[in-house]
């Protein structure tokens, strides 16, 4: 008999191997120290930005390896970190107003690999250094806020409907609305029921009180929204930090993980994450002009907008951002120009209605206020100071009286509208957050971790390769080749998934070497056994592969079971280990059985009476 695979099978295996090799390649090209520019609100990147960057660098006599432009950012690669850091400073000074300038390690994947969308794995924090925060969202506070909002809405509603009430109070998880007599109570109940959805109303006849409870669904919604909004807010803020490739994701029901690779200054990171921001709506003071000595008339104040232009606004605030319930961007139905749609709560709506009624035709401004804490080094001591940033982000003309829902037009682009809506929505954190976990890894430690991980992998691999070679001779060569292919495949799959490589992930690779070779050992031992039993070489090969398969399959399944369980506890690095191990187990099933067989067939399959060198 002969052992051979049909041509299609060989081709299929070779295709998979080629795929594995190509897509694992990007991991071997390292990274370029680089600087990335991404546009701030309103700004854009285009060819002219790139030319500007090139000019700035040329003026400073810095040589960039390459200036790349894509739809979202400009990436400038350098040969060394020295010029990278110098360039960051220069670019920040030259373009810092309109662009966020950040240091980045950009993969140095050659163009032909990028053309087929081959990218390297992403390095975890433990390998590149950086900070990791886990934030706990205070859900109770979020629910409390929601209750207060509802209480406020009820008050306004009753006032609007001229229903007299004695009091609206919060009591633990309910809102108690008290009335003089039963009739008003019943009347109020109808109004509330009609106007505000999602509330459970219960009458306490004896006390002339309506007991209001927020429905389960609403509470769940509030909690979900609190996390989602906080994530949006945090993402905005992290973008302000200018961190390349941050990770911000929900973990569990009420936790948020923020990972900032490359950031070492945790103090600054926390300042930004914990900052509070809010909005104010004010009328533009159109009756006065700003005096020559920059003095504002009584009752007004000078503000400046994003481009630094000064605007005179009335001191009286119409509405603050706390009263914005929701904001979304879209197009104005009449003019088709970009617009932001805003919903206010009851109090805000009433104030807005009163103000706008009297000021049709006048301009109203939106002021964005951010409280930042800054830590500076002063005489060796760390000094924390609070800084308040106020800027006018939008001025629009009041066309009509409006209250709860209204829109802001006069925005230049849909991008701007989207950003404004985002700021309105995400200006402030929806619920307070508490840092419950914090990990900082220094960059030197990251580098050390990579080196140690790689070294232990290579040594482990070499030891196995030598033993296998000595023990199984010709078949050992094949097993080692199979191992290399297996590693390439794992790497390719991880790269395609854009998985994060962590130190435990590297450990997963190392361990997979030992486990993957097991399949080869099973097959080879079986072949040896068959040979000892006096079976012909070809039959031994056939039986070896055939019999060993069931065992290999069973043993892989059990390993897989345990690896999958690892996901369950997997937070961060351990997940990396679980992913690598799982993929390794699956690929080794393929490589050990089919690749080995293909190679064995090529070497021995066609010959009769051959002696197996095993």
């Amino acid at each position: 008999m002969r052992n051979r695979y049909p041509v299609w099978k060989n081709l299929l295996i070779l295709t998979v191997l080629a795929f594995g090799i190509i897509y694992s390649l990007p991991n071997f090209f390292g990274e370029d120290p680089s600087v990335q520019l991404s546009p701030n609100r309103g700004a854009k990147v285009d060819q002219s930005t790139a030319i500007q960057v090139e000019k700035l660098l040329a003026d400073a006599k810095l040589k960039a390896k390459k200036v790349e432009l894509n739809d979202k950012r400009v990436l400038v690669r350098f040969a060394d970190t020295d010029s990278q850091i110098k360039a960051e400073e220069i670019l920040k000074m030259g373009l810092g107003d309109n662009y966020t300038v950040a240091l980045n390690l950009a993969p140095a994947t050659p163009g032909w690999l990028r053309a087929v969308n081959a990218q390297p794995m992403y390095l975890g924090l433990d390998l590149r250094g950086g900070v990791h925060f886990m934030l706990q969202v205070d859900m109770d506070a979020a629910v409390l806020q929601a209750q207060e909002r509802y209480a406020e809405d009820i008050r306004t509603l009753l006032r609007e409907n001229k229903i007299r009430y004695l009091g609206v109070e919060r009591d633990k998880s309910t809102i108690l609305v008290k009335f003089q007599d039963g009739q008003t109570m019943a009347q109020a109940r109808e109004v509330i029921k009609k106007e505000i959805r999602g509330l459970q109303l219960e009458l306490v006849e004896a006390e002339n009180t309506v007991k209001v409870k927020i429905g389960e669904v609403e509470i769940r919604e509030v909690r979900k929204l609190a996390v989602a909004q906080n994530i949006t807010t945090l993402r905005n803020r992290v973008n302000e930090l200018g961190v390349a490739e941050p990770v911000i994701q929900q973990q569990g029901e009420d936790r948020i993980v923020v990972q900032l690779p490359g950031v070492q200054d945790t103090a600054r990171a926390k300042e930004i994450l914990g900052a509070t921001a809010t909005l104010e709506f004010r009328l533009v003071d159109s009756e006065h002009v700003i005096g020559p000595d920059d003095k504002a008339p009584l009752g007004s104040r000078i503000y400046s907008d994003r481009s630094g232009r000064k605007i005179l606004l009335q001191r009286k605030i119409i509405v603050t951002g706390d009263q914005v319930v929701d904001a979304s961007s879209g197009l104005d139905q009449q003019s088709g120009s970009p617009a932001v749609f805003i919903s206010l709560n009851g109090t805000g709506a009433k104030k807005m209605a009163d103000t706008t009624k009297e000021n049709i035709g006048k301009a109203m401004a939106v002021v964005y206020i951010e409280n930042k804490t800054e830590t500076r080094e002063l005489n060796g001591e760390k000094v924390t100071s609070k800084k308040k940033v106020e800027e006018v982000i939008n001025v629009a003309t009041i066309r009509d009286r409006f209250s709860k829902r209204f829109q802001i037009t006069g925005l230049d682009t849909t991008d701007e509208a989207r950003n404004l809506a985002l700021l309105l929505r995400a200006g402030a954190l929806a619920a307070p957050v508490d840092i419950v976990e914090e990990r900082t890894v220094g960059p030197s430690l990251g580098k050390e971790n990579i080196e140690q991980g790689e070294r232990s992998f290579l040594i482990g691999f070499a030891l196995v390769a030598v033993v296998v070679l000595l023990y199984y001779k010709a078949f050992g060569v094949i097993a080692n080749l199979t191992l290399v292919f297996n590693m390439a495949l794992i790497m390719a799959i991880l790269s395609m998934l854009q998985a994060t490589l962590t130190l435990p992930g590297i450990a997963g690779f190392t361990l997979t070497v030992g486990m993957a070779v097991d399949a080869n050992v099973l097959i080879y031992e079986r072949i040896k056994e068959e040979l000892r039993n006096g079976v012909s070489p070809q039959a031994a090969i056939y039986a070896g592969f055939d019999r060993a398969f069931a065992t290999i399959f069973d043993s892989h399944i059990t390993n897989l079971l345990a690896a999958i369980m690892l996901f369950g506890i997997g937070s961060g690095p351990v997940k990396g280990f679980a992913v690598t191990l799982t993929i390794g187990i699956i690929t080794s099933l393929f490589t050990a059985v089919t690749c080995t067989r293909m190679m064995v067939n090529w070497v021995y399959g066609e010959k009769r009476g051959v002696k197996l060198w095993i």
Binding site: K270, E437, G442, I459, L503, P504, A507, L511, D518, L522
Partner: protein, 312 residues
């Protein structure tokens, strides 16, 4: 081949099973006693708290550092050297009202008390107590689910007595690793837990290979005592078991020696697991299945695998 010789195997493993069972029982009891008496040295992953890793300019005085921390209000801090005499690892219990930046500044202030020997911060990790508690719960569940999954799979593929043997052998390995970490009070962190779960899969893998062969031999060798068939099977798979364990051991050894501090305990747990797992799949699993009364009839039931006669 259908007429087995009086003895087809070299080593009478199961003949000595009583010694093995006793050895396992005694070691397991020792492990459990240690776990009950002094427990595991849980890392902050599980307990919450703060870990600070610093490097001093010149060799550090661990006792002095501990004293300084204690006088400054940190209760029973753990201070130890690792790697070199200049690298120090400090573990602090969860602090009320003190965390993040403030905590870091306080600790670094205390460490830099001696201005001649300044410390450079390498790594600081803070884990809130709630996070730790959640993790303990999740880990317990993960171990439980893994055990149940294994139980079901082996029961489906083989027979419930094998399944029990396999799961008990696997738990035996888990207890051994935990016991080892408890006796030596090595730090038990999330990565060690990952190692424990990995070993569950690994040890089971070994056991399955032996069981597979036992089943095959029950079908192939028409005669022979149960013990004899098992002995033959273990002997036949011995080469493979030892070879694989040896190779995996080598890779993990490389990890333990060259992989650095962070995965050191992880590698140690794997090393123990591989050794114990190899032993348990040879001895414990089969011995238990035997004790539970596995018989030929249990495995001869259909599953149309005429593989034994189907050779080319």
């Amino acid at each position: 081949m259908n007429q087995p010789a009086p003895r087809l195997y070299k080593i009478d493993f199961l003949g000595k099973r009583h010694i093995a069972v006793w050895a396992s029982v005694i070691l397991s009891i020792a492990a459990i006693v240690s776990l009950a008496a002094q427990g595991l040295n849980f890392a902050i992953d599980f307990t919450g708290g703060t870990v600070v890793e610093v490097e001093f300019v010149s060799p550090a005085d661990v006792v002095q550092i501990r004293q300084n921390l204690e006088t400054n209000g940190f209760n029973s801090p753990m201070v130890q050297l690792f790697g070199t005499t200049r690298d120090v690892l400090i573990r602090l219990a969860p602090q009320e009202n003190l965390k993040g930046e403030e905590l870091k500044n306080r600790v670094m202030g205390i460490l830099n008390h001696d201005s001649a020997n300044r410390a450079e911060l390498h790594r600081i990790e803070f884990v809130g107590p709630q996070v730790g508690e959640d993790l303990v719960e999740d880990s317990g569940l993960a171990l439980l689910y893994a055990s149940i999954g294994i139980l079901i799979y082996v029961a489906l593929r083989f027979e419930y007595r094998f399944s029990l043997g396999a799961i008990l052998a696997t738990l035996h390995d888990v207890i051994m690793i935990l016991g080892f970490f408890s006796v030596l009070q090595l730090e038990f962190d999330l990565s060690v837990l990952a190692a424990v779960l990995t070993i569950m899969g690994y040890s089971l893998n070994d056991t399955i290979v032996v069981f597979d062969r036992i089943r095959e031999n029950f079908r192939k060798l028409r005669r022979g005592e149960v013990v004899e068939v098992m002995n033959i099977s273990i002997n036949e798979t011995l080469n493979r078991t030892l070879m694989t364990s040896f190779l995996t051991f080598l890779t993990v050894l490389a990890m333990a020696l060259f992989g650095g501090e962070i995965i050191h305990n992880f590698a140690i747990a794997l090393l123990i697991g591989i050794v114990v797992g190899t032993y348990s799949s040879i001895y414990v699993a089969s011995a238990l299945a035997l004790k539970l009364g596995v018989s030929r009839a249990d495995l001869l039931v259909p599953e149309k695998e005429g593989a034994a006669d189907n050779r080319p």
